[in-house]
């Protein structure tokens, strides 16, 4: 018998928090449940977008951090 899955189950699946067995059941259920498939498509779509929305800091800040690290190295070598 195919189990019924909720949005919360799909969220756990998309974020790799389902057991292997549960994941297989969800994948099996998605094959014959169009609603579940849409749910998965929408949630994983937003998740992918969130990854792309990451913001990068300026090069200046990155250089400051790298210089700080190097300066500590120089101090310890003295």
């Amino acid at each position: 018998m195919i189990r019924t899955f909720t949005q919360d189950d799909v969220i756990r699946y998309v974020y790799h928090e389902t057991s292997e067995e549960e994941s297989q059941e969800i994948e099996k259920a998605m094959l014959c449940d169009a609603e579940l498939q849409i749910m998965y498509k929408e949630i994983s779509g937003v998740k992918n977008r969130l990854d792309e929305a990451q913001k990068a800091p300026s090069d200046m800040v990155i250089n400051n951090i790298l210089n700080f690290s190097k300066s500590l190295n120089l101090l310890s070598k003295k």
Partner: protein, 199 residues
Amino acid sequence: MEKYKISDSKLVSLYKLGSEEAFEQLLNRHKSRVFTTIYLIVKDNYVAEDLLQETFIKAIRTIKEGRYNEEGKFLPWILRIAHNLAIDNFRKEKRYPTVVLEDGSSVFNTLQFAEDSIESAQIKQDTHVKLRQLIDELPDAQREVLVMRHYMDMSFQEISENTGVSINTALGRMRYALINLRKKMKQYNIAYDQNIYPR
């Protein structure tokens, strides 16, 4: 999570031995995730950059002074430092109310306006900027869970322990956050991936 050729723990070990290149790799690998986590809490680019600097300086000192715990993973550890600093800053800001000008507008609104016009001239069409705004607009509880689960890669169990709510509540907040974002993305025509990929 992305898979890298050289693991974070290997890079930390090399860094301990004096390899600045190893540290540069670690920094470049995680700078955006750490920065986004901070930015989504403090909502200010300059403050977020200061806190990013502070976060990595703390990490550098801890590693170089031999106090880094080898058993833990680097990313969750540094994200925890970043999150704590961002939350401290957020609370501190709340204690000091916004300065209001004679016309009743906030000083920060004026600064925001200046920043917006530069931004709109340069990257008006940038959907990533819009998406971050949409995340900013989420209710605090939903944004908190979203940042912890998505950007800090904490499990729902860990979120539950850290925020003092049940796993189901944390999951429910995440559900509302994702549903709200999807609705708003549709509203603002921010296309999201329509294809189904295997996980």
